[in-house]
Amino acid sequence: DVKVTQSSRYLVKRTGEKVFLECVQDMDHENMFWYRQDPGLGLRLIYFSYDVKMKEKGDIPEGYSVSREKKERFSLILESASTNQTSMYLCASSTDFRGGLAKNIQYFGAGTRLSVL
């Protein structure tokens, strides 16, 4: 079974703090993604990575950065947290190279609910 693990389920931070959200997957997937989920807005892509040390901006990258030093780990960084970054953050991984049903499917972690006060 694919497992995507996010380091925290709930996090409370203060405005201006630097925040690290960690994600680890155990399926040797090439692709990893960070989304934020807000009511009525669905899942919006922040950043993604298709290889170690590679990163691509998603639809809403402002205020965020990412790091992928190892294939299994993808970190989301809020350089200076703001109240409008209060949200649910979801990490996902996928592979493009296996045949059949497994290809391109995204597997999600349980999510981190971040509150910025």
Binding site: F33, G42, D96, L101, I105
Partner: protein
Amino acid sequence: GQQVMQIPQYQHVQEGEDFTTYCNSSTTLSNIQWYKQRPGGHPVFLIQLVKSGEVKKQKRLTFQFGEAKKNSSLHITATQTTDVGTYFCAGLYYYTGTASKLTFGTGTRLQVTL
């Protein structure tokens, strides 16, 4: 950039009634996927449609992909309380030769009462 719209945003049905959610993309899709997110949970993959006009069934769920590969629908027959959750469509786009990403729709939240 790609946009995927989904309607309705919310639907409340009585158990046993049917339910449909619709998904429209601003551009032609390589394929479309559907995910379900239970309350308090994370999105879980349901199905992937690849071919123009494709129809797939999973028990009471019927998924369709439009002829132009720009729209899709999910229909649930005779809903049950276990169907409660938010249903997302997601369009697959290739940003390099093989690497892909999904653009998710806004989701439809389904509430089912007895």
